[in-house]
């Protein structure tokens, strides 16, 4: 019985390492069929990349941006995120402005969180059991980042699209990203119009790109 189990285990390890190699070659192994499966794979891939890359740990921004673009952005729906944050103002924006807003908002989020990504060291991620019905189109995947200091609740809100599950909102320590930006966007638009918001985001991103990394 015991040897049987050992052999089974051996094959399981062999199989998973083969899959890992295959995944490394094709970079298509991310399982998008279940929302929690998607988050688990993306999070562990990102953590492994950060931990194995001393340049990222030193706060090399272009490297971090590259990592985010390759490993995170494909599984997000930034259009939906931007739409929700804009609310009724979305329709006031021209198609060009909409495209600009999506890309500038994305850059702002990448820039502001790249510092946090470079801080990843000995943290572990705890996944809470998914509470969703099989036919749900929207789910929340709850995780907790455990490391130095207080545990940080980090939740992801996903929607089912024709291209698999996509993240469109994130909750950090109890604060939903989209919710936090709704007033920010609305106020900027009522002060300076959609044009003003686009310009504000462009200027802020340039400023952040020019600034030195925090660490």
């Amino acid at each position: 019985m015991k040897t049987h189990k050992t052999i089974q285990k051996y094959f399981a390890v062999l199989l998973s390492s083969l899959l890992l190699i295959a995944g490394g070659v094709s970079a298509q192994a991310v399982d998008q069929s279940t929302p929690d499966g998607l988050i688990k794979t993306v999070v562990s891939e990102v953590m492994a990349s950060v931990k194995s890359d001393p340049e990222i740990q030193k706060g090399n921004i272009p490297r971090i941006v590259d990592l985010v673009e390759k490993k995170i952005v494909p599984y997000t729906d930034m259009r939906r995120t931007t739409e929700m944050a804009m609310g009724p103002n979305w329709k006031k924006a021209t198609p060009e402005q909409q495209t600009q807003l999506i890309s500038e908002f994305k850059n702002l989020l990448i820039r502001t969180y790249s510092g946090a990504l470079s801080q990843l060291r000995d943290q572990t991620i705890q996944f809470k059991p998914l509470r969703a019905a099989p036919d749900d189109k929207e789910v929340v995947v709850k995780t907790v980042v455990i490391g130095r200091g207080d545990p940080i609740p980090l939740d992801y809100r996903l929607e089912k699209t024709s291209n698999g599950w996509k993240v469109y909102d994130m909750n950090i320590m109890g604060v939903w990203l989209v919710e936090a930006y709704r007033n920010q966007f609305a106020n900027q638009i009522s002060q300076n119009g959609v044009e003003g918001l686009v310009k504000f985001l462009q200027d802020r991103n340039k400023q952040l790109a020019a600034a030195k990394p925090a660490n």
Binding site: E83, M84, M86, G87, P88, N89, W90, K91, L108, L109, R111, T112, Y113, G115, A116, Q119, Q126, V140, V144, I146, R148, G149, D150, P151, P153, R157, N171, M173, G174, V175, W176, V178, E179, A180, Y181, R182, N183, Q184, F185, A186, N187, Q188, S190, Q191, N192, F200, R204, L208, A211, A214, N215
Partner: protein, 248 residues
């Protein structure tokens, strides 16, 4: 001790100056229904920002320069372990005895195996940290938050949490009851620096992320407190924000 009295007077002066120069709401900013005292709050916010930039942040920068990371971690863990006793009490008051028991176990484990609380052995051992305070307990009891308030020195709050903070301090042994006054003041100073140190990087992140820092912090605070009050309770899952879909 005379310098202390002088310091106090100086701080008071700054406070009054901050209040008198009531900041106005920037033109075009939608008033928030949660924040009827916005002009007053904005002026206290400005005062806190100045205090942070010119006093607290430089002190914390020095603290980080002088003390190696493992010492700062030890200090952090010590106060964190101490606060777990209060968290256990709050969880009991909130009707979460399982959480309270787990918090108490944390204190036992960390105080013994964690060398008096300097090392957090409980978290990797599977006892996660919770953080509860009087404001959250009042919230669980059904007391409404009241309008948003920015308190001098303490920052974002609301009417309920203002009473909560006062109760927290009143029931805090190290802050209130320790007989040796000089020691008590030193400990309080260290706690303030330690608390600000935990947000050292997050503070910079906030500056980059916010379009209007005041309303960003306010909206985040309101959401976060609501989340904290509801978390860990099966019967009151935090409400999901409903976003208006611009296409519907």
């Amino acid at each position: 001790m005379q310098w202390l009295a002088k310091c106090k007077r100086l701080v008071l002066l700054g406070l009054v100056a901050g209040m008198v120069g009531c900041a106005s709401i920037p033109a075009g900013v939608e008033p928030s229904p949660h924040d009827p005292w916005e002009p007053f709050n904005r002026s206290v916010f400005e005062f806190n920002e100045g205090l942070d930039a010119y006093l607290l942040k430089p002190v914390v920068a020095g603290y980080r320069f002088v003390l190696p990371e493992f010492v700062r971690d030890g200090i952090y863990n010590f106060f964190s372990n101490y606060s777990d006793i209060y968290t256990a009490l709050q969880n009991l008051l909130q009707g979460k005895p399982d959480y309270a028991f787990s918090d108490l176990m944390r204190v036992v484990v960390n105080t013994t195996f964690g060398l008096g609380g300097l090392i957090d052995m409980a978290t990797p051992g599977g006892l996660p940290k919770h953080k509860e305070d009087w404001g959250q307990t009042f919230g669980v009891w059904g007391i409404p938050s009241g309008p948003y308030v920015v308190l001098p020195f303490f920052g974002p709050s609301n009417v309920r949490d203002t009473f909560g903070t006062a109760a927290d301090m009143e029931s805090d042994y190290l802050f209130r009851l320790l007989p040796d006054v000089a020691l008590r003041n030193s400990i309080t100073g260290l706690r303030v620096v330690n608390a600000r140190n935990t947000y050292y990087e997050a503070g910079d992140l906030l500056d980059g992320a916010a379009i209007d820092k005041y309303s960003f912090m306010r909206d985040a605070y309101i959401q976060r407190r609501e989340y904290q009050i509801n978390e860990g309770r099966e019967d009151r899952e935090p409400l999901m924000p409903v976003y208006e879909n611009p296409y519907e």
